[in-house]
Each structure stands twice: as structure tokens, then as C-alpha cells.
Subunit: 112 residues, 2 copies
Amino acid sequence: MDSAYCPHFHWAVELIGRRWSGAIMIVLSGGAQRFGEIRAAIPGLSDRLLVERLRELEAEGVVVRAERPHAGGAPLVTYALTAEGLELVPVLEAIGEWAHRRMTRSQRSARV
Amino acid sequence: MDSAYCPHFHWAVELIGRRWSGAIMIVLSGGAQRFGEIRAAIPGLSDRLLVERLRELEAEGVVVRAERPHAGGAPLVTYALTAEGLELVPVLEAIGEWAHRRMTRSQRSARV
């Protein structure tokens, strides 16, 4: 019950729920990815919004940006979840499982 | 990984993350409440937004509104989580625990 009063809970639930944030974290749960890889994994996500979300998640310490020198070209930039961000993966997976159960139930009742 | 592509995951994570939705569900996790009780439990939540969020959560089958006759007056209206809504409570609690650990860690490192 107390969590309802808690500004930290409030902040966390809205961080996760912000448009595309959850999907981006799920994509990064498999390991570090380049900008174009994240975008390709999430249909409907624009470059502009992906930039914005990655900046927010970085500022909150959930995502980390890494630059590695790349032979004969621009440095290779990747994004990965921090240890803190990784802790959220099981929570996001639980939300996905709930959504999936809900869909399966509604499909079943639609057939009755 | 697949969840990132899944519109159902996307819908669920944004439903929970919508402004105040998570806090409302946490308040209702203790049992049915009247409108004024929910509002009183969440500082900063306006009547207008509480009406809007309860309607959305009702439309999504997460919250149910019940009216009982009340001796000598208007019927007593309460809001409660549905069975589906109750399934989300452990997930919301896990988000709260994550936020709390994060806050405790940052307070600890601020003291070093």
C-alpha cells in the first residue's frame, strides 16, 4: 500500500511506461546493440524518439552508451543495460507474460 | 526479446505507466475503495485525472466499479481490482522494490 505514496515508485513506473521505453529495455536485455539494431527491432519507433528515449534512460542510469574505436572509420557506438537496468528485465518479462495470458484468455472467450 | 515486437506487451507496459495508473492499482491492491479514499491516498492526483484513469482501467478490465444500495442516500460506489488486475500487483510491487533499492544505493553513494 505504501508504494502509492512513494515518489520513487511513481517515478519508476512512469519511466518504464513511457512510450517505447519498455520495448527498448527488452531489446537491450539480449546484450548491447547499435542504434540501428534497436530501431530495426521495434517497428514504428522513429529515430527522433529513439534518440530521446535512449538519452532519458542513460540519464536515469538504466542504459549505458559505449564507444569503441572502429578500424578505419567512425567509432562503434553501442547501448546496453546497466546492472540497474538489468534488474528490471524480469519485471518487464512478467508484464509481457501477463499481457500474453490476457490476450489468450480473450481469444478463448471470443471463440465460446 | 520477442516481447519488443509484441503489441500486447507494448499496450500493457504503457497502461501501467500512464500517469497515476500504477499508484491507483497499488491503492486498490488492499481492497475496494471509494473514489474519495483513492484520491486521499495519492497526493497530487486531481479528481479529473482520477475519473479519467478509473474509466480507462475499467475499460481495460483491470478495475471494476460496484454500486451498492446505501441506507437513506445515494448508492455506495466502490472501485476494486478485477482478477486480471490483481495479477499485476506483484509486478507493481517489484517495480516499487527496484525503485527503493535504487534510492537506497544512491543515498549510500552520496554519503561516501
